[in-house]
């Protein structure tokens, strides 16, 4: 062992190096990295707080439009969010509370997105061949002339 002193010194240098790597890693790797996958978990909350959500969901609309919310919840469009036709809530009510008229999409193209006849859709789902179903031009509001989007009936 007397003649292996240099080996122990080399081993000590290696240990110091490995310890250096371990300590440096401790400083460099963010604490929440790898908590739920190969990303920094704290970044999720940071990104959420850095941006104001544009869409808030039907419950937020219901704080002012309770009647419409109740009618919608009782009808066939209960699974369709208000913001699909009325646009994002943030465009209607700004972050500072200022209210502007929402840009409502009344086009038959929007209705047709779900209700155009497509072979792959379940037969029980209400669907039509638009050009045969509407007697007249397919202008904005053509569908709404007969159907109430908040409580649609066939």
């Amino acid at each position: 062992m007397e003649h292996a002193r240099h080996v122990f010194r080399a081993a000590l240098v290696v240990l110091v190096l490995l310890a250096g790597v371990g300590i440096t890693r401790g400083f460099l790797v963010p604490p929440t990295y790898g908590l739920h996958g190969p990303y920094r978990w704290a970044n999720v909350a940071e990104q959420m707080s850095a941006r104001t959500p544009a869409h808030r969901g039907p419950a937020a609309c219901g704080t002012c439009h309770e009647d419409e919310l109740r009618r919608r919840a009782a009808g066939a469009h209960r699974a369709v969010s208000c913001e699909i036709c009325h646009g994002p809530l943030l465009a209607h009510v700004a972050a500072d509370g200022r209210v502007t008229a929402p840009q409502v999409d009344r086009s038959p193209a929007l209705c047709a997105r779900c209700h155009r006849k497509v072979l792959g859709r379940p037969a029980a789902f209400p669907q039509v061949v638009l050009e045969e179903h509407v007697d007249g031009p397919l202008d904005a509001g053509a569908c709404l002339a007969c159907h109430d989007p908040h409580a649609p009936t066939p």
Partner: protein, 414 residues
Amino acid sequence: MPQISGFAFPNDVHVWWSLMIVMYPYITGFVAGAFIVTSLFHLFGRAELRPVARLAMATSFSFLLVASLPLQLHLGHPERGPLVLVTPHFTSAMAGFGMLYGGYLLILALEVWFVWRREIVDRARRSRGAARAFYATLALGTYDTSPEALAVDHRAIAVLAGIGLPGACMLHGYVGFIFGAIKANPWWSTPLMPIIFLVSAAVSGIALLLVLYQVVSKLRGRPADQPCVSSLARWLWLFLILTLSLELLEILVMAYERSDSWLIISELITTRLELSYVTVQMIVGGLIPMILLAVVVLMNRYLHPRVRNTLSTAAALLCLLQVFSMRWNIVIGGQLLSKSLRGLRSHYEPELFGREGVLMALALVLAPFAILWIFDRVLGIDPPGQADGEPEAHAAAAPGGAAATGPGLGDVHP
């Protein structure tokens, strides 16, 4: 703007992995290949390779020091080089390379230290002032060069070489894995890729040492050791045969299977890569050196040393070209085809200047030789007993016969 033939997706028309990504496996290949040569001597008792054993180890070390630079130049984030070493994890392919690179660097640095320890101690004893402090620090403050201490060194070198060889193979096999594991690209995605990379690394390492040994012999003003040249040529021939066979078999399997991807790969090979694949990789860099090396190996006893040196060096230079074109065809070729498998983009032409240009690639290839020169000035690369220009005594260097030229650590056999 690149010219598109067939149908290509809009995001498939860029060559993001540039010349630097070609240089990355090329340089890493020298690391593994040179280490295989030194292992043939240190581990497998190929005594005729004694004249290049130390040169091979120093070459492997020098190339390893620059192996990650192409990636850093490509990324434009030099801090990520050290970061990948100190933040190991298992969630990305490059992090895996960082672990293999770091581990192999540690093993090779230790092996270099044990092999050159006696020289370090001798120079520490001979030097004065700052040089003495430098060598004393390198020697870690212990000056024990007794036969017992040297025997300990021998054992340590054997153990480290035993770990280092699989380490070197894994390091370069892993580079092949990085390409082979990209399943969206049929030109890359084959389990043969790591094996082809590894075997071609052996070709490039042995070829480089053949050329380097001839150059070093010229510079030192002494004739190249012929058994050593013959042996290097023989090993180079073997690995070239293996490389070419595997590269051809890979294509043959694809062609025979007539898989979906063959439609585009056959077009890629016969149009965009016709020069670099068919002409350079397979004929100029493959078939011709294979014939030259066959002459060197099969007619060895009839060859004049000058003819043997010339033929083997010419073959080695062509092999270096073959391996470079293979890296080029893999890296660049894989980006010329669209993931639609129905379209190709036009050739990629690297820039001359700039961070990823041709001049930078040349600088990257030359940098290890500068490191090698410094290595030689600081520690000396020649085997013990030849540093002062005396003729090489290869015949005495058979396993167990190293004492004839002095019991230097470069002569170590397990």
